[in-house]
Amino acid sequence: MHVRVQEADFTLADILDGFASAPDTGATVSFTGIVRDDTGDLLHMEIEHYPGMCEAAIEGIVAQATQRWSLTDCRVVHRFGRLSPGAQIMMVATAARHRAEAFEAAEYLMDYLKSRAPFWKKEVRRSGEDWVAAKSSDEDALDRW
């Protein structure tokens, strides 16, 4: 239940049910990614994924983060399929003893999910459709860790 790859929407309340109940948890951080419409003509976003490898890749990233920051809990949800502007794309949640650990682990998870989890985003606009290009800054972000 710690990693979910699904087409359906999710709620924070649902994902965080029972989260961070360990007595040594002092801080939790959650991040949610949302379909943003920069130009006002986005019809929807299409997220393609590699079933099986997604889950394995995310679980590997979660295991790394959990060990490095001694997380007391960690959850990741990532959606695929057709998403409207404003829709939730994914979320991560981390729980740790102190706030710095919870924040760092959440940022680490996001940096690795961006570049190492097999999802591909296509933006379908009134003016045409385009695959979202990976940014070199996303790859560079990994050097921080």
Binding site: Y50, K114, S115, A117, P118, F119, W120, V132, A134
Partner: protein, 82 residues
């Protein structure tokens, strides 16, 4: 017999999401060369390897990795998760 999977614009360019190929390729690069030689659409999809990534049995790897024992190869552009 290897299952070959294509994602995102690689899939669109080649026109199919997956296929099973019979190949004697020793490395990923050898397999890429075999595919490139097949048809124009493959040659186009594999024109610039710097814009491609490859996974063997669902693990990210490099183009010079041997294929021995591999059951599934996937080609795709850099990932854009998150």
């Amino acid at each position: 017999m290897i299952d070959v999977l294509y994602f995102a614009w690689v899939r669109e360019r080649i026109g199919i999401p997956r296929e099973t190929v019979t190949s004697e390729a020793a490395t990923v690069m050898d397999l890429v060369d075999e595919l490139r030689a097949r048809e124009e659409r493959y040659a186009l999809a594999f024109a610039d390897l710097s814009s491609l990534r490859v996974a063997l049995d669902q693990e990210l790897t490099e183009f010079d990795t041997p294929l021995e024992g591999v059951r599934e190869v996937a080609f795709f552009p850099p990932m854009t998760g998150g």
